[in-house]
Symmetry: C2
Subunit: 384 residues, 2 copies
């Protein structure tokens, strides 16, 4: 298996981008990544997206995006794994280059959600849950996460306000990220007074929908080593795992077993332990998911995730900085693009380009993208 490097990144701002079409969004991020990589052509294009078929009446995003960015005749297809669709595109690109089938690959995640009314988007998001046993019972994603959070608070004795530091950290970091959706610092008081959406999840526990795209270029490591010398970002580990699609089928709804399995694979490939991770772009779609992710990936003991946040260890200077560019909560969560935003942000940190929220001497970063309520989890470890 060939080792693989990431030599280019690109992203759009996450926002309500009504003046940009789906293809324009994907194109903007893809062309930025190509420019960053000093390439004008790739062998393959893999597009991560969840719900353009319903939200934009457009499927077939491989050909659609490749055509738009001038990559006619290249290989191209679309990967979907609900909110982990972006990481699925990156993993596909990784396997394509590692296998030798292609020499240069573009992975781009894109989602355009704000053209549809909010209630329609909620229904479309529910297609990531079990249609028969969850969605048809009226369970939305926020409702599923509320059930998990309530159970977690009951089992481990946390109060609602103990989750505030996750949102405060995300919003503080997003202040420094020009691509983030929100540039509004929040306080414990704002958190406490936020509208309740599905008790105990309030507006400050939940990531917002949005439009956006992010992209990366992957090539064999040996190809760039000769040209650049030392400081090359390479993929050190990659792991993917699933869990039951319906949450009620799990023995332990408060334990992200798929996160544990996927990061275990990635840690073994990279030959490291969680202690060596300098920053972790985790999937904080809801603050409960941030807590569970810290636990399942070995940064906190079971039931102790919120303590890390309360102790300030998730901030830029802490033991395990998370959401360093705002995370899903404040950078925004255009679902099929999120996994690629995480990769872009880890690359920024490893290159020392995370202006305003740079983690000191960052050498190893991890990105973890979650689809469904912990049903599909894809982890990547990048290092220089």
């Amino acid at each position: 298996m060939r080792e693989v490097a990431v030599i280019g990144i690109g992203q759009t701002k996450v926002d309500e981008l009504w003046d940009k079409s789906l293809r324009e969004l994907a194109g903007e991020a893809a062309l930025a990544a190509l420019h960053d990589a000093h390439l004008d052509r790739v062998d393959a294009v893999y597009v991560g997206n969840m719900m353009s078929g319903s939200a934009n009446q457009q499927l077939h995003l491989g050909a659609y995006v490749a055509d738009w960015i001038g990559m006619r005749y290249t290989e191209a297809f679309h990967t979907e794994a609900a909110c982990s669709s972006g990481a699925a595109a990156f993993r596909t690109a990784l396997m394509a280059v590692a296998s030798g089938e292609v020499d240069t690959a573009l992975a781009v995640g894109v989602e355009k959600m704000t053209d549809s009314p909010g209630d329609e988007i909620t229904s479309q998001l529910a297609t990531a849950a079990d249609a028969d046993w969850e969605a048809n019972q009226g369970l939305s994603f926020v409702a599923l996460n509320a059930l998990i959070m309530r159970r977690y608070m009951y089992e481990f004795g946390w109060r609602k306000e103990d989750f505030a530091p996750f949102s405060i950290n995300a919003h503080a970091n997003a202040m420094q990220n020009p691509f983030a959706r929100f540039h509004e610092p929040i306080t414990a008081e704002i958190y406490a007074k936020a509208h309740m959406i599905a008790d105990p999840i309030n507006l400050m526990d939940a990531s917002a929908i949005g439009d956006g795209a992010a992209a990366a270029i992957l090539v064999p490591l040996d190809r760039v080593k000769a040209a650049n010398g030392g400081r090359i970002v390479r993929v050190a580990g990659s792991g993917a795992a699933t869990d039951t699609i319906a949450v009620d089928q799990r023995r332990e709804p408060t334990w992200l077993k798929a996160a544990y399995e996927s990061s275990k694979t990635a840690y073994i490939q990279a030959g490291i332990t969680p202690k060596e991770i300098d920053l972790f772009e985790l999937h904080d779609a809801f603050s409960i998911m941030a807590a569970l992710s810290l636990e399942a990936n070995g940064f906190a003991e079971k039931g102790k995730g919120p303590q890390l946040a309360l102790d300030g260890e998730i901030t830029i200077g802490g033991k395990i900085p998370i959401a360093t560019r705002g995370g899903l909560k404040a950078r925004g969560h255009p679902v099929g693009a999120t996994g690629m935003y995480q990769i872009v942000e880890v690359v920024q940190q490893l290159r020392g380009e995370a202006v305003g929220t740079q983690v000191d001497k960052a050498r190893i970063g991890m990105a973890q993208n979650i689809g469904g309520s912990g049903s599909n989890i894809i982890t990547h470890i990048l290092r220089i």
Copy 2:
């Protein structure tokens, strides 16, 4: 790059399967393939599907299928490339095993189309076309293919009845395939009298929608070589290419450039020429696509595809047998499953299991899956 073998296949009948859910269909094909491979576990599951998000209110098919077939915690995601979604799943599985990221992979294509009213399905199929420049102008897929066929007849002087042998051959072969949707032989007279859908495409030129699933198991070749000795089906070549998503953007709408590019890659990998192909499962969604596929892949000169059919060379005893188990026309075309049916059928031929339509001494077979109106074309060459 590791060489890869196909050690198990499975399929459901293509039909209006109202008593089987989406997961039951995928499960039936997947478990049959596992049984055939004598495996009870794989490392990864890749699901090809086009439009379950709208037709079945279910996305996230990786976790959905893996969970259902008892493969909880494995890697799993969904690939989409319109009607070539099935081949995209197979290619992903191939790259996954070839790269060493996984040792055993299941590729399964599934589509459940008959739960939705016909006009809705036509709209959903149109999401494979360009939403802005084709679908929004009212162009359905049959209309796009009718424009291509009309242009082709004008350019090369063919009459409508010259396309009859494609459908007659497909229906004749399907008679021997218990998994085929249609078991009705047709004649030149039936073809001539068939209802016109979009002139010049009549009912006998067009494949029918349907429900179905097909699956295959991929492993490293060296793993089975030791166990089985000689007669192992291996993947000798794989190529993928795209063209413009909108047909009007092409210089030559009657030339499948993406087919030419993708099979060129596959031929080079396999180290063969078209002459060495013993059978070709091509993408006869419309009879014009069968003619264009024969030309772009080197079996007929430009503009001469129908002559091969008129000369009887596409039948089981001919120079290049096509649609040997009924093709899209008569086996049926559950869109995201079709590419996997093609793989299953090529494997049946190479194993000598194509009862009733066995190609004599078949050693090398090719499967080619087309998404959109020639926009996304994925080719695989299998051999023993």
